[in-house]
Symmetry: D2
Subunit: 163 residues, 4 copies
């Protein structure tokens, strides 16, 4: 169980008085191109939607990798960090995609307290296919090895040019 | 592209005047038990969240299978039906689950026009781990083989005891 | 990297002189029923074959769970054990399966040295659809946290009624 | 069920007398780089092996896409073609890979009758991690919509520079 401070989590990202950079969307975003594969698609011939969440999870990692200049594995070794599990996500599916489509995924982040909000926009030839908003928690492991939420480190915020 | 009548889709499920059973939650629900497997989990040792959406998609199918008394493949052959793609979904992750966990998934549905809303509650030992709400469209194939939304057939509503 | 003693691995399972139970197929096997889901299938309407390997991996775990009387998570805590990664696998696909199919998976094991061989037979209504043979290594973590192969513990062999 | 001519399938790829190009490995191969993602890995921190087969399936498609100059979706529309389901596969796992690894996958093909054999070599920094050999059948749909094996079209062989 993640012993999360729910109250702080659901404070809006902009309500973090006295904390530098709080609630300011970073100017740093990331775009990557993803090929939709045959095996991502279902018998209707369109993508099976859980695959989008695999794509978005990797897109969140890609944004952090770009900002921090290191992979998630290196981040786990470098920072007090055990991952950024999802607290909630929501997505709208506007247009289906198919195997062979090369879609673009634009990803940006707004930092809160021990959490951050990610927006993904997945598009094909300029047209939005999926919009997704997710809230994640920065977690560390305590002495007993349990995951618990933790302030996003200042060094991380700096890399994202938020502070 | 699914040429969906977006306006009708986003009418709330309860605003379907003159249509019998409209907006009435069916009394028919379904519960199934799902084992979380090793391969569903990530390096943090907890489930990789896109797996939940695989579970929820199968839970939606299981509810329909129970109500209609036939599998999805048989439904595709029996009804004017090409699937029920997702329009939107949202989920809250309250407690992580781990490989070896046998979770219960309770699924219920409320029918709208050409769409329906599904709620899933995934729990472990009585404690809610994930809540999910999804909106899906009943689609058929037109003469050109394209997917398009269509009124949920009355026979389907009857099987769900809505009308 | 798994620093595996390759030479010992590729000794046939029956060539383990002086080691009790060596190369003797256990009489203990396991059968489980698995539903093939919509999302497991591809645009041809049949299962996307990597899903079979997910099923087989879970079937191997199910066999161990049955024999040891505990889940894989409990096994990781109870035994000197960090998993049983695959060394090789081979599969023949005789008949495709489809969403809605409830397939049976029969799984049996033959123990070697630090490795074991698993055979899976996946069938639908008594007809074999897939045959799979895999070789896995029992691994532990050394002081530095690296995975390395290790003799399958005698207690495990006893539970499998091999010795 | 795929009504496959098993006898012809298991003729070695080089035993296709009188058929031009038969059994000659094409000189055309393909290499692509694939990022191993967090969600591809299991609680041991290494890739969950069924993900390799997803990678290999996409690598086979990529080779065909490169040779034919069109995506699989376009191939389905252009040729008498309903996919190339797997008949058998075998893989050896020599070194595990981890999230953040950018692996190279080299793929080559040898054509048989109605089937072809694919070899994949997945490597990290020049070191082989996985070797895979698969046999696939070229299938078409008959009048009743069933999948059946079919000679690989000559135009396809020409594009692969085999004839």
């Amino acid at each position: 169980m993640i012993p999360v401070d729910w109250k702080s989590l659901f404070e809006p990202a902009h309500a973090r008085p006295g904390i530098p950079g709080s609630g300011r969307a970073t100017t740093l975003s990331n775009t990557r191109v993803v090929r939709i594969d045959w095996g991502d698609c279902d018998p209707a011939g369109i993508i099976f939607y859980p695959r989008y969440f695999e794509i978005f999870d990797a897109s969140t990692s890609a944004l952090f990798e770009r900002a921090l200049g290191m992979t998630k594995l290196e981040t786990l070794k470098t920072y007090d960090f055990a991952g950024f599990p999802l607290v909630r996500t929501q997505a709208r599916f506007l247009r289906p995609t198919r195997f062979g489509d090369d879609v673009a995924v634009d990803t940006k982040v707004t930092f809160g307290h021990a959490s951050f909000e990610i927006e993904h926009r997945l598009s094909l030839k300029g047209e939005t296919c999926v919009e997704c908003a997710e809230k994640r928690v920065w977690v560390v492991r305590d002495a007993a090895g349990r995951l618990k939420s933790h302030l996003v480190p200042e060094e991380v915020l700096k890399k994202f040019r938020v502070i």
